[in-house]
């Protein structure tokens, strides 16, 4: 009971005080310390719940079975494997690192481990001492079901956590892909409660939240811009990924830092047994992944890369275009990703992982124009990218406690530059003129955290931990260069927003425990603090989820979660522009808060159909928006450009999923309302959020026609996005200094987002032809994005067309509302291989 002792020691002599659950006041450090002590005292109470049953059951000795579960073929650790005693039906699940611990009374035990896609492992033993088992599950080639569920074996009605979905990477690879590029984030958009921003976009809008309210973690490291090519692709290369988990409500205490969702993406660890690879060549990009043992069963490595080649293919045409204009030049765009991961197993108790991701988008333009007395060079570029690294150390303290210590670094930077340099030569004398601008922005994080999993009895699964992150925000700076030698002008200035530094801390504790056979609870507390300049903000966030089993195995679930967010994204709410700025809470900009309640029912019918129905209500405070009139193109002080207000979202989500058989897939439907209210926007009146979507429906299906042919399709329908559109025009009159006036024609609308675009719907289809070869497996994949070429709205504008009058005098304006649609039907071909 080490943990109890630690908590007790910290809590000793600390009187309970009234705990402020959420504070935006500046506080001093002693008060912060007091709050830490209070949370520890509460944890002591949680511990009593563990100690008491233990005391009652002293008469029967208990022992632990612990270890890891891994894929026998690759050595890859398996997450969420249900390990349990068939006799007592007591069990546990493996954590993110494949670790499990199960404490049972001294007795004969029929231990079983099962996971979809693998043969069930069983082992009989007499438990009379603590034991270690490293379980290897063999692949079951006869079972090819594809599932989208939190736990492959633990059925939905058994799970206490609601609003959480795991998407197997294999499932992502089977669905139709835009331009042949499978995309994690676009698959998540097909789930209820998650919606896309617009045509082709990979941004996530979860239960009325904005994109900055999603914490996207790659191997535990925040990724600040998850988009390539303005959001049309995500940065995650599916070949390098192991699993994807999205939590959109009922957040356990271990999660924090964002209001709306946590998306955990873990990279593969690398095959411990033998070398393998996979790759693809698609319409726009190619990718290759190789993995294998550095030391068999001891150390492995995974390397994965992806690059687009539109720039390479188009290069001859672009150069030709410059030549036709009498100049020389080049222009293009590409993005690339590179993932790497190494892991080393020191012993059964210690294991080290080092993972890294780097990705970059780049637009470039260069043009040279040369004459006998004149040289001109124009260079312009736009680049942005992420770098994330994580060093993780797994350590076992005995049989019941697992720890993971992580050191992380994350960097996102955006840069754009343009320079025009001219040289004039006259009478042998040269004079130069240079005009240039360089804009750069970004965010750097350096963090460390330690997390513990503690399984004292089969009825309790305790998690606790703490961590800190040092943020460096660069909210936008300009370099301006202006050199005119003939006028002796040499200006080189830098202006914009200075860097801001902030510390973010978090500590948490949660316990998942059973009270009888029907009631299962996860309760916990999350404490967070943020320091910027000389201000401290703190927040204590209670989290609670419960599942009660009704007759006929229908699970009734409910949850409550408070969340706080200290960093904000200034976004144009349209396409995912890389110019979106991450900015901190400051003295003027306060942290965002939310609370969310959810309740629902879940049941599995006939072992095949999983059905869930959830309702939710979420309130958000101090959400961030640009003020009216603020623009990405005005590079003023960002604190002056934004305003904070309230958000509200409520709705119902229905999810039915067929998990087994040749035909698998799901139907997800969301009915929701989302509102925003800002004192400085829309004259303080509440208005629908741009992504308020009354109906959102997804139908996803894969069908195995034979071992060699597989069909898949998705159909989505969504209410049109809200949009601000004037319904009338008038002449606004402005006074001039000397009593006269000037008129400007303006548009009038009653409310922000008063208009709805046309409904969005789209069908994507795909067919895979799979063939086993001597060297491995190859797949030809043919797909159609937007198969029936629906012209979905991307944006609308009023076009003024001037037509000459019949008499030839003057012209008439013909005003039309025009919709721009991005993608008609788009075919895609990909050649995929695995060896």
């Amino acid at each position: 009971m080490l943990i109890s002792f630690i908590f007790f020691t910290f809590s000793l002599g600390v009187p309970f005080q009234n705990v402020v659950l959420s504070s935006e006041r500046k506080i001093d450090q002693p008060k912060l310390f007091t709050m830490y002590r209070n949370i520890l005292a509460l944890l002591l109470l949680l511990n009593l719940g563990i100690l008491l049953p233990a005391a009652n059951g002293q008469e029967q000795k208990k022992f632990s079975i612990s270890g890891y579960v891994q894929d026998a073929q690759t050595g890859e650790k398996l997450i969420g494997v249900h390990v349990y005693d068939l006799k007592s039906m007591k069990g546990s699940s493996t954590n993110t690192y494949g670790f499990f611990s199960l404490t049972l009374p001294m007795d004969s035990v029929q231990l079983s481990a099962s996971y979809v896609g693998f043969q069930t492992w069983e082992h009989a033993l007499y438990l009379n001492k603590d034991m270690e088992f490293n379980i290897e599950l063999a692949s079951d080639v006869t079972l090819e079901a594809v599932e989208v569920t939190a736990d492959a074996v633990e059925q939905v009605e058994e799970q206490v956590q609601m609003s959480r979905i795991s998407v197997p990477v294999d499932q992502i690879k089977k669905l139709p892909a835009f331009l042949g590029e499978n995309d994690v984030l676009k698959t998540l958009q097909l789930l209820p409660g998650v919606q896309s921003g617009g045509e082709g976009q990979s941004g996530l809008y979860v239960r009325g939240g904005s994109p900055d309210q999603n914490l996207i973690l790659l191997d535990g490291v925040p990724v600040y811009n998850a988009s390539h090519l303005f959001g049309f692709f995500s940065v995650f290369n599916s070949d390098a990924l192991k699993d994807v988990n999205l939590v959109k409500g009922g957040f356990p205490a271990r999660y924090g830092g964002r209001l709306s969702s946590v998306l955990e993406i873990n990279m593969k660890e690398g095959n411990m047994k033998e070398w393998h690879g996979a790759g693809s060549i698609s319409t726009v990009a190619s990718r290759l992944t190789v993995e294998g043992p550095l030391i068999k069963d001891k150390a492995s490595i995974l390397l994965s890369g992806r690059r687009t080649y539109i720039d390479v293919l188009a290069k001859p045409f672009i150069k030709g275009s410059f030549n036709a204009n009498g100049t020389k030049g080049d222009a293009g765009y590409y993005f690339h990703d590179f993932n790497a991961k190494v892991n080393y197993k020191f012993s059964n108790k210690d294991r080290l992982y080092l993972s890294a991701y780097t990705g970059k988008d780049k637009f470039y333009f260069r043009e040279k124009d040369k004459d006998f007395d004149y040289n001109n060079t124009i260079k312009a570029g736009l680049g942005w990218g992420n770098l994330t690294t994580a060093l993780r150390w797994n350590h076992l303290f005995g049989k019941k406690m697992f720890s993971n210590t992580t050191i992380t670094y994350s960097r996102y930077k955006f840069n754009t530059q343009a320079e025009d340099e001219s040289t004039y030569t006259e009478n042998g004398q040269s004079e130069k003129e240079v005009f240039g601008v360089n804009y750069f922005a970004g965010i750097n994080d350096l963090g460390a955290k330690i997390d513990f999993d503690y399984v004292p009895t089969p009825n309790h699964f305790i998690r606790f931990g703490l961590g800190g992150t040092y943020h460096t925000f660069n909210p936008g700076k300009f370099d301006n260069k202006n050199i005119i030698e003939s006028e002796n002008i040499h200006i080189d200035t830098t202006f914009g927003n200075p860097k801001v530094f902030g510390w973010e801390f978090a500590a948490y504790a949660e316990d998942e425990f059973s009270l009888g056979d029907r009631l299962k609870v996860n309760a916990g507390l999350h404490l967070s603090a943020f320091n910027v300049k000389d201000s401290w903000y703190t927040s204590l966030q209670p989290r609670f989820s419960a599942r009660y089993l009704l007759p006929n195995n229908i699970a009734l679930k409910a949850s409550y979660a408070q969340m706080r967010q200290y960093i904000h994204l200034l976004s144009n709410e349209g396409i995912g522009l890389p110019t979106d700025l991450w900015v901190p809470t400051t003295n003027n900009v306060k942290p965002q808060d939310s609370w969310q309640v959810a309740a629902g029912l879940a049941k599995t019918f006939g072992g095949k159909y999983e059905v869930s129905l959830e309702g939710y209500y979420k309130q958000m405070k101090r959400v961030v928006s640009y003020k009216e009139g603020s623009s990405l193109l005005t590079f003023s002080d960002w604190e002056n450009d934004i305003t904070q207000g309230n958000g509200e979202s409520y709705g119902m989500e229905f999810f039915v999923q067929k998990k087994k058989g040749r035909l698998t897939g799901w139907i997800g439907y969301t009915l929701s309302w989302t509102w925003r209210q800002f004192d400085e926007v829309n004259f303080g009146k509440k208005f629908p959020y741009k992504y308020d979507r009354r109906h959102d429906l997804s139908v996803v299906a894969t069908y195995e026609l034979s071992d060699r042919v597989q069909l898949s399709g998705t159909w989505v329908y969504g209410t049109g996005n809200a949009f601000t559109l004037g319904h009338s025009r008038f002449d606004a009159q402005l006074p001039s200094p000397f009593g006269n006036t000037q008129n400007y024609q303006v548009q009038h609308y009653e409310n922000r987002n008063n208009y709805r675009m046309r409904a969005y719907h789209r069908l994507d289809v795909n067919i895979d032809f799979i063939k086993e070869k001597r060297w491995g497996t190859r797949t030809w994949s043919f797909g159609l994005y937007n198969a029936y070429s629906r012209q979905n709205p991307f944006f609308l504008y009023v076009d003024n067309e001037y037509a000459p009058n019949p008499d030839g005098v003057g012209s008439t304006i013909d005003r039309k509302l025009k919709q721009v649609s991005l993608f008609p039907v788009i075919p895609a071909i990909a050649y995929k291989f695995e060896f």
Partner: protein, 280 residues
Amino acid sequence: MKNILFLSLVAVSFSACELTVETDLPDYEKQMVVHCYPSQETFSTTVSTTVGLLENKNPELLEDANVELYENDQLILSLSGNTAMPMDQALTNGQKYTLKVTHPDFEAMEATQVMPNQVPVKKAVYKMNSGVDDFGDQVDVLQISIDDPAGEENYYEFGLFIQQDPNFPDAINYLYPAENNSLGVSVIYSDLLIANDQLFDGQSYTISAKFNSYYHNDTEKYILMWRNITKERYLYLKSVTAHVYASDDPFAEPVGLFSNFDQGLGVFALYNEATYDVEK
């Protein structure tokens, strides 16, 4: 051939299309629009109407609207829309004025203003070549010292003029806040800067405005036109300025237009004006 097919596929993949949507716009009812900025010398009102967003015509003036001005609920002036007439009596500081506009085809419009008091300028100074702006260009600074009344919202409007010819003063274009952008905004195309006292309520304060040094001239006489304006005038000018800028910027957030009329659009706004010589 394979390459051509491949490139064609890429080209198709990135082709965008534009669709002209024949669609119903939100329900719209024609509204009356009134603009009234009475000075101490002249009273004029412009009455017009809105037109539908996609209608192929311009907003129209309403000639037969009836306009009445009340001082503390007493009718002091009446005229038809789009005419101007000299004021028989000066508008009095602190008094309530109500504008009522009626037309048989529209609901009656009404707005009320209280004539703002004059907050005198203690000192106005013009500092030439006072630094450079973000782009390295030389700027001049105008400094206006006032004692802002405590406990009330005050709104100011000012412009700077070169008095080359007493009958034709020449305005300095584009004044903008020198230190803090939350002070106020430069009104679009009007040579005026509007400011509020949120930063300095109840304090002795010096408002600083910058402008390009291109205008400076050592020999000219500079005049400050200083106005105390109502909150409604401030909000209207600010919203129209932001709206016009935003309408030319696809990345800008939309801007709603302020109005202090319940049943229509536009503004009835008062101001109290004084002029001051500017020290150099």
